[in-house]
Symmetry: C2
Subunit: 278 residues, 2 copies
C-alpha cells in the first residue's frame, strides 16, 4: 500500500498560509546556486512553484564559485531575507562544509549548520534538516513509533544521522539502528525491522524479500533511470508493506517543510525565538 504523503504536505501548507496571514507580510527565501546542473534546476523550479503557491517571496542567486562564501555571508546579514538555501552539489573545488557553516543559523532553514544539527542532540528541533523532518512527520502520521525497531540505511549529514537522532528523542522513543555500505548482513537487519528508512541513492536497492511483511518503508531515494525519477525501493514492496511513493513522497513533504521553516524564521524575527521553539 502506498502512503499518502499529499495529505501530510497539504496540512503543513494550510498551517503555513495561516501563519503568513498572521505575520502580515511575505517571508523571503533566497536560494544560492553556482553552476546548477539539471536536477538542481528542477529542484529550484519546484521551490519557485511552492513558494508562489504559499505566498513566500523567492529569489534565486546564481553566483560564480569564488563568490559563494561571500554571497552566503552577505545574504545572512540581509534583514529582508528569512531563509537561505544553498543548492548542492557545489562546483568542484568548493568546500561544502565551509559554505554551509557560514549560513546564519537563525536563517538556516535547511538545517545544515553545525549549530542547528547540534541542537538536535539536545532534542531542540529549531531547524532540523528538512528531509529528516519529512521522514519523521510521515512516520508519526502512520504509526506510534514508541519502542519500534527502526532501521535507517544511510549515514548522511542531512538524512541518516539527523533522522536517527530525531527518532530517539524522548516522546518518540524509537529503538534506532543505522546501517550503511560497511554493514555486514544488511538484509538480516532490514528483515527484522518494523520500519525501514532507505537513503542509499541506488535505484530499487530494497526489494520485497528484504522487508518484513506489514512494515512501514520510507523511500528517501531520488534516482534517474531512463529519464524517469525512481526511488531506492522496488515499487513491488508496496504489495507487502506500507511504502512512500517516489516521486510525490518524502520529497514533496520536504519542499513544503522548507517553506514552513522560512515562515518559522520570520516568526522568530518578529516574536522572538523563545516563543516559537522552546
Amino acid at each position: 500500500m502506498y502512503i499518502d504523503c499529499k495529505v501530510i504536505s497539504r496540512n503543513i501548507e494550510d498551517s503555513v498560509r495561516k501563519r503568513i496571514e498572521k505575520l502580515g507580510f511575505s517571508p523571503k527565501l533566497v536560494s544560492i546556486t553556482s553552476k546548477p546542473d539539471y536536477s538542481t534546476l528542477s529542484y529550484l523550479e519546484s521551490q519557485r512553484k511552492k513558494s508562489k503557491k504559499l505566498g513566500i517571496e523567492f529569489e534565486i542567486m546564481e553566483v560564480p564559485p569564488e563568490k559563494l562564501l561571500r554571497t552566503v555571508e552577505e545574504v545572512s546579514l540581509n534583514k529582508n531575507v528569512h531563509g537561505i538555501f544553498v543548492a548542492r552539489p557545489l562546483p568542484e573545488g568548493v568546500d561544502e562544509f565551509e559554505v554551509l557553516s557560514r549560513i546564519d543559523p537563525s536563517k538556516d532553514v535547511e538545517g545544515v549548520t553545525p549549530q542547528n544539527l547540534g541542537l538536535l542532540i539536545y532534542g531542540k528541533e529549531i531547524f532540523p534538516p528538512c528531509t529528516a523532518e519529512s521522514v519523521v512527520k510521515i512516520l508519526e502520521n502512520q504509526l506510534d513509533i514508541t519502542g519500534k525497531e527502526i532501521t535507517v540505511i544511510g549515514r548522511s549529514v542531512t538524512v541518516g544521522k539527523p533522522v536517527s537522532i530525531m527518532l530517539l528523542k524522548k516522546g518518540r522513543d524509537a529503538t534506532v539502528t543505522v546501517c550503511h555500505s560497511k554493514t555486514v548482513d544488511l538484509f538480516k537487519i532490514t528483515r527484522r525491522s518494523d520500519v525501514l528508512i532507505v537513503a542509499v541513492g541506488k535505484a530499487f536497492f530494497i526489494k520485497p524479500e528484504h522487508v518484513k511483511e506489514g512494515a512501514v518503508v520510507v523511500d528517501v531515494g531520488i534516482n534517474l533511470v531512463n529519464g524517469k525519477v525512481v526511488g531506492d525501493v522496488d515499487p513491488e514492496v508496496e504489495k507487502i508493506a506500507k511504502l512512500t511513493p517516489v516521486p510525490g513522497g518524502v520529497g514533496r513533504v520536504t519542499t513544503t517543510l522548507l517553506m514552513e521553516h522560512v515562515v518559522r524564521s520570520a516568526e522568530m524575527s518578529v516574536y522572538g525565538r523563545d516563543k516559537i521553539c522552546f
Copy 2:
C-alpha cells in the same frame, strides 16, 4: 577479562606532556561550579590531580547560581584560559542548556556546545564529548570495529547520542543500534551485539546472561552502592566477555582526554585551528 584502560590513558598522557613542552607554556583549564555536591567535589579533585601531574594550570571557580551565565561568558572572553568545564548537576532552577551553550566553542573542552556536537555529524571531531571519545578510544584499542554490531544503551547528550554518531564515522564504520528505557526486549538486542556500551546509570543493570560470549562491554556507569563506586555492569560479566573496570576504566580515560582537549585548545590558539583538526 578486564580491559586495561590505564595503558590507554598513559599513552594519551605521554602525548599531552610532549605537546605542552612543544607549546612552551602551561595551558589553563577553569572548572566552574555552583553548590557542588560530594561527587562533583571528588570529580573536581581528580581534575586537580591530573592537571598537576601533566603540567596544566587549573582553577576552580565557585559562584552562586545567578552568576553562572555571566561567569561562563567572562571566562570565555579571557585569553589566558584555554578550556572551560562546567560541573553538573547545576543547582535547581538553572537551565543547563542555557549555561553550556554560552561556552565559547573554541574553549569547549568537554564538547557540550551545540556547535561542537553538530560538528560530529559532519565527522569533524574538534572537541567531542570526553566520555564519548573515551569509549571510542577504548574500543579502537580492543578490536577492529568495522561492520561490527554495536549496541549503545542510553541516549544522553554527552554519551549515547554522540558516541553513536562517532562510531558511524567513515573509517570506523560500525553498525550502531541505540536503545533506552522505552526499548522493547532490550536483552534480545544486547545478546546479539558484538559490542555493548552501557550508560544507563543503574548499578549492575547488565548481567552475564544479557551478553554474547566474547563480546566487548564498555561500562560508562558510575553508581554509589554502600559507599562504593560501581558500574552499570555486573562484574561477573568479566568472566565471559571483555569488560572495562569501574572505577579506573572509562572515567580514567575521560579525565585524561579532558586535559588533552585543553592542550588542543591551546594549540589551536597558537597554530590555528586548521593545522590541528582538519
